[in-house]
């Protein structure tokens, strides 16, 4: 018996006015695997992630996430996905606990408190669980975004620049979340500029350039020189 891939992207185009942010990306990601999304600034990684998270509708192309069509069933996509956006991603005058409570309630999670508390502790945010996030440092905000993405054990975990400005302990905790997700059979897509961490976390790698996919390979094959050659 064959399983359908958790994420299927075919000829994805995203246009904002005159700007084509994504110009024909193809991507397939399997359940139980972690795939790194690499590329220079403006390559289309974050926009592709936003489409997969149901935040931005595709202008053209086919996008299926955990069996839900992103163009017609954004709500289904949102239920299946846990997303850590590349920037911010937190309501400035709410506390971490209030973020978790809202996310859990909207996903009909009856017993979420223990998991929420555990994740906050793992990311060393337990002491600030009831403090307004407006005063958080960048690294703390990133860590909380990963916690929010992982809370409901989503079928598809999307992490956009989760290591940006995060201390080594936070990086370890994030790698642990990725490993846990893979172990329970979730599909992980991780976008980052840090190749070494991407290789540590992921088995597959996809390189985007100018809104297009230019390479897809085993992460181990993506040496520093090969990566640079793909970026130029």
């Amino acid at each position: 018996m064959t399983h359908a891939p958790a994420v299927v992207v075919r000829d994805l185009h995203v246009r904002f006015g005159d700007v084509e942010a994504v110009a024909g990306v193809d991507l397939t990601a399997e359940a139980g695997q972690a795939t790194a999304l690499l590329g220079r600034n403006g390559a289309g990684k974050s926009t592709t992630m936003k489409v997969l998270a149901g935040v931005v509708p595709p202008t053209a192309g086919e996008v299926t996430v955990a069996g839900h069509d992103a163009a017609t069933d954004a709500l289904g996509v949102k239920r299946a996905v846990g997303y850590c956006p590349d920037v911010g991603g937190l309501v400035p005058r709410a506390t971490p606990w209030e973020h978790l409570q809202l996310s859990a309630r909207l996903r009909r999670m009856p017993d979420w408190e223990d998991r929420g508390r555990d994740l906050l502790e793992r990311f060393e945010l337990g002491d600030v669980a009831h403090r307004v996030v407006g005063g958080f440092s960048h690294g703390m905000s990133r860590r909380l975004s990963v916690v929010l993405a992982a809370l409901h054990e989503p079928a598809v975990l999307l992490l956009d620049e989760p290591f940006d400005g995060v201390d080594p302990l936070g990086v370890d905790a994030t790698l642990e979340v990725v490993a846990d997700a893979r172990a329970r059979g979730a599909c992980v897509l991780l976008s980052t500029h840090l190749r070494d961490l991407a290789l540590e976390a992921c088995g597959e790698a996809v390189v985007l350039r100018g809104g297009n996919r230019v390479a897809a390979m085993q992460a181990g094959e993506l040496t520093g020189e090969a990566y640079r050659a793909l970026l130029d």
């Binding site: 920037v87 709410a94 996310s103 309630r105």
Partner: protein, 512 residues
Amino acid sequence: MRSSIDGWLDAARDTGHLVAFRARTVRRRRASAFGVAVVLALTAAFAIAPSGFDVRSVGAPAVEQALTSVQGNLGAAFAGFLLLAVSSAMGSGGGRELLSRSEAAVHPVGPVTEHLGALLLAPVNLAWLVQLWGLLAVTALVAPAGGLLGAQVVVLAWVLAATALGQAVGWAVEGVRRSPHGVVVVRVVGGAVLAALAGLHLAGVLGPLVRSLPTTWLAETAQTPRWPLAVVVLLVLAAAAVVVGARPAAWALGLPPREELRVQSGVHEARHAPEPRWTSPERALLRRLDRDSVWRSVGMRRGLLVLGLGPGLVALVAGLEWGSVMVLPGLTASGAALLFGVNAWCLDGRGMVWRETLPVAAGDVFDVRALVVAECMALVSGVTVVLALLRNGLPPLVVGVAVLSCWLVVVVQVLAIVMTWSVRSPYAVDLSSPRATPAPHAAMAGYAGRLSLVTTLTALLFTGLAVVPWAWVPAVAALPFLAWSGRRLVRARRCWLAADERARVVLTVAAV
């Protein structure tokens, strides 16, 4: 060695650079130019048009009496403008900022530049504009033939001087607020001042006291051939206030913003998820999050307090009749909408992207946000109506129906307008500072002018309807207004429900 004049010239130059930078970022230039033209045209109309009415020729004793009362209270109105300038500057943490704190952090922007910027932005305020128009209109009404120009020049000079004085006081209060225990000091002193005013009013001495202020001399002199003397005095006063105001500005801006920092690191213990009787738990939770976002913001909390109490107290102290009160709910509701409602999605800031990943129907998100905006508007305008009720007692039936109809109409009207703007023209703003505005200043000026015009015209209509002998007339007249605004609100909601439109709003507000 550099003189202080060089410092001021540098600050003026820097202010010019900031204004030019701001002007270059205006998106809809034609609409902005049109908005400015409308505001200037309205100002000219208020300054000139009332002089064309010969009120005394009407011959009615009531009108005659009202005119005498207005003339006698012009000095008090001048004092009221100063009070407004002070409270506006205090409410906005010293004054509005040309560049937001995070944007300005990397630039060498000095306190004198901040001070000049705040002075330039003082007119971008609904209450400031309305008070200016009111002063110009009343002066035009009571100025003697041939004395209109001089009287209006005095009004403009007073507005300049009062704005500069208010700004200086505003910075000083902000300095105190930023000192240790300063928040408590400001609250206690503010409460004591309010209590003293209430006491003076109850003792019947507030009116005579206000009328004995130098502003009465100013109002009288403005209508005589000695008006140039008043203008010179006021311009000297304005220049002195601008220069002196730089001192408290430098002091205040050199201190950490304690109240904001306290709020930003505020602790709020976990609460149980709401279990509402009338709505779904999801909507109740969203509503709680949105309400918290409003009331945990220093600027919005302070703004709602000032808007709720200020106009109502004016109605109470100045003894405004129901006819004059009618205009206040629209203006206070507009003021509340200008705190964040004109860009309602900015409440989530960058968290907007995360909010959009939550599995909740887009319609619910729109409905809850609109409800929270409406709550804020209804609250502040409701306080005004209640305070007017305390002053005037229960109105006759037709007046009561007119007031309630007018209140409902203006709240729905403003809600429909601002939710449309929020979807059509979102902006990325950081509202953590009370000096921040929810949209660029040019847009705010346009918003303020438009809302005040619409709500004032609506209020004037209902003021007219309050004198008809049939109580059902104002209620029936409200229906087309409600239908039109309701249609507009539905249209804005439909626009929000379109995935690509919503994505545009989300990405703009979150600045990603």
